[in-house]
Symmetry: C2
Subunit: 104 residues, 2 copies
DNA sequence: AATTTATTTAACCAATCGGTTGAATATTTT
DNA sequence: AAAATATTCAACCGATTGGTTAAATAAATT
């Protein structure tokens, strides 16, 4: 899961699409409009986001409505938190070391 | 920056290396030990992490000491927060809509 | 029924990926 | 000086990436 989520977020076009979908759901055409690339390319980006479960598509007539799904980002948040825990523990150790050294 | 950070984190070996380095700095050999892949492969992973500025290497005698660097993760955290803000705004709208509907 | 609109699929491309093996480099130990 | 240790570099591999264009599919409009 994290592999596909991170991979999906490792591209600025996809991050930008996701930010826009965070604000408002949109059709594929609307999503593609600001980018200087083919519709097929955007369609591929959407597929990557969809596989990562960061968006869902619902067919509405002849167009698709795309929505963001926050859920996979919880796992990213957990990862960051894990790193943070260890990182701050390390900083504390360093702090103790300095305090200890001063004492002598 | 985010491109390289996310790309670096989109691989479970690299995430695992980073977690271990979060706890304790280690040499390349120590880092490589638990993985069933060549040292050269691990060396490449370390280069990816280094390019993303998630680790630094310092030459100590004939070996290298690798340390984690948290800083790039701040940007990831900001990204997640951005998504969160919009996501929760959307949830609020939905909430208002439901409340509104009930009222009628 | 024919046309337009919305989107995907397929085939292709060069670049990058994650891995390999074998040789090269640098340092320490003997 | 020779041997051992720590690590990287270079060349190679097949798979995947992010893009293209052209054709295919599906639904709405005329």
């Amino acid at each position: 899961m994290l592999d596909s989520t991170m991979h999906a977020l490792a591209d600025s076009t996809r991050r930008s699409i996701l930010l826009r979908l965070g604000k408002k759901e949109q059709s594929v055409n609307e999503i593609a409009e600001p980018y200087e690339m083919s519709l097929a390319a955007v369609s591929k980006h959407l597929k990557v986001l969809e596989k990562a479960n960061l968006i869902t598509k619902e067919k509405k007539g002849r167009s698709y409505t795309c929505r963001m799904n926050y859920e996979p980002l919880n796992e990213v948040q957990e990862l960051i938190n894990q790193y943070k825990v260890f990182w701050e523990a390390r900083l504390d150790e360093l702090d103790n070391f300095i305090t200890q050294t001063k004492k002598d």
